[in-house]
């Protein structure tokens, strides 16, 4: 890689991951290797770490450092209404079916800093779907969950969010949903009044409830095929029959155990229905 710090060898990655698992209980071994390696190299560069033994000592002894590492390795980049056509499909094709149910339970799995949770809040509000909806949003990263709860985001990002919202066909403007303070915006907490945030690691935790809709977008891309299979199996076990799963538009359930349990509702938007 093109930094000042020498490339990290594969055996060093193994040592790093084993140590993180041992000392912090978070297992990154089944993450997609190429992007994981780049993120670890980036972490070494940012923190001026020059060798693996230095890293291993720090991860053992320094809680702040460990938290920062886990935060850096888990990608927390997201947008509101990312891929607007996905949200249009949800609103126009999926919710008309779901909303007939007496209680509707939604799981935002690996919700990161919560942009899609607020997107969902806006979708539901504008479509008038607000009764009997219970939403659980989970992530393994406590810092990301804390930010999601506050709904505070960078003002800079709102331009892109607004563009997505317009392409989604929003009824208003996004600024109706947030208040501005300096370089930050705070989204209306009413949008998440049905939402419970909790810590959950898709890699190591089990199914904890059943849902009518699971949204987990651009998370599987960070996992290897074996881990994707396990996580999709977990989703399958967490859905009632006739319920929906939405993943990232470039992700796929092909070549996994879950494949035969789902029918494809939209190939382009990667929305599946449990058979």
């Amino acid at each position: 890689m093109s930094g000042k710090i020498a490339e990290i060898e594969e055996k060093d990655i193994k040592s790093i991951l084993d140590n993180v698992k041992l000392t912090r209980g978070v297992d990154f071994n089944d993450y997609a290797q190429s992007s994981l390696r780049r993120r670890i190299t980036r972490f070494f560069e940012i923190n001026r770490i020059f060798n693996v033994s230095e890293f291993n000592a720090k991860i053992r002894n320094d809680d702040k450092f460990a938290e920062f590492f886990i935060n850096e390795i888990t990608v927390n980049v997201t947008e509101m209404f990312r891929d607007p056509s996905f949200w249009v499909f949800l609103r126009d094709k999926v919710f008309p079916d779901l909303i007939k149910r007496p209680v509707l339970k939604i799981w935002h799995a690996a919700c990161s800093t919560g942009e899609e949770v607020y997107s969902m809040g806006i979708l539901l509000k504008e479509a008038g779907f607000q009764n009997n909806i219970r939403i659980i949003a989970t992530d393994l990263n406590q810092g990301a969950l804390d930010q999601a709860k506050t709904g505070i985001y960078k003002l800079n990002n709102q331009k892109l969010n607004q563009k997505n919202y317009e392409m989604f066909g929003g009824k208003s403007t996004l600024s109706e949903y947030y208040s501005k303070n300096n370089n930050e915006v705070t989204y209306d907490s009413n949008l998440i009044k049905n939402v419970k945030f909790q810590k959950h690691n898709l890699v190591s935790n089990n199914s904890f409830s059943v849902f009518d809709l699971i949204i987990c977008r651009n998370v599987l891309i960070y996992f290897n095929l074996g881990l994707q299979d396990r996580v999709l199996h977990l989703f399958n076990n967490s859905l009632t029959p006739e319920s929906y799963l939405g993943i990232g538009s470039k992700e796929s359930i092909d070549r996994t155990r879950a494949e035969k349990h789902f029918s494809t509702i939209s190939f382009d938007e990667k929305i599946y229905k449990k058979i």
Binding site: S2, S34, S35, I221
Partner: protein, 190 residues
Amino acid sequence: MIQKPEIIVIGGSAGSYSIVRKILASLPANFSIPVVLVLHRLKEARNGFDESLNNISKIKVTEPLDKQRIAASQVYLSPANYHLFIEKNKTFALSISEEENYSRPAIDITFDSACDVYGEKLLSILLSGANGDGAAGILNCHEKKAYTIVQDPAEALFNIMPNAALRLFSPHELLTSDKIIELLNTLNQK
């Protein structure tokens, strides 16, 4: 002298699209070497680009899905708003992590991961562009024994990208777009 590569990765930005179109129009239907295109694109222009390239290409152009296996006789276009990695088992892996060099897809990322996997079996080409993405990546390819070609900045519509690479190293070839096309068309016979 260039050997037949196992894969070709082409990076470009502003001023590279017309060259890419010319390249795809020129390659024969039986061109078997997989080609990966990493081009800076508008984030929200998610659809349509692969179709427009398909209209002129005799080889099928697709945007790869995550974990898709790299196959012969395919052109892969990196999807808008994703970074494109190549894994050791010759599958694609995607990421939406931070932009690098103000870019997602970042050309550096695909070059870096491709040369890790393919080494001297890789042909890397860097075209016209108005930022420095791809320069460090093609240098890394060169150091890992890949064959490297940079578009002649004198001909490039935007010379910042090729010049950024040339400041770092001397590629195996510095070629005009016509010569790049000519060279690509000799590879199938090798």
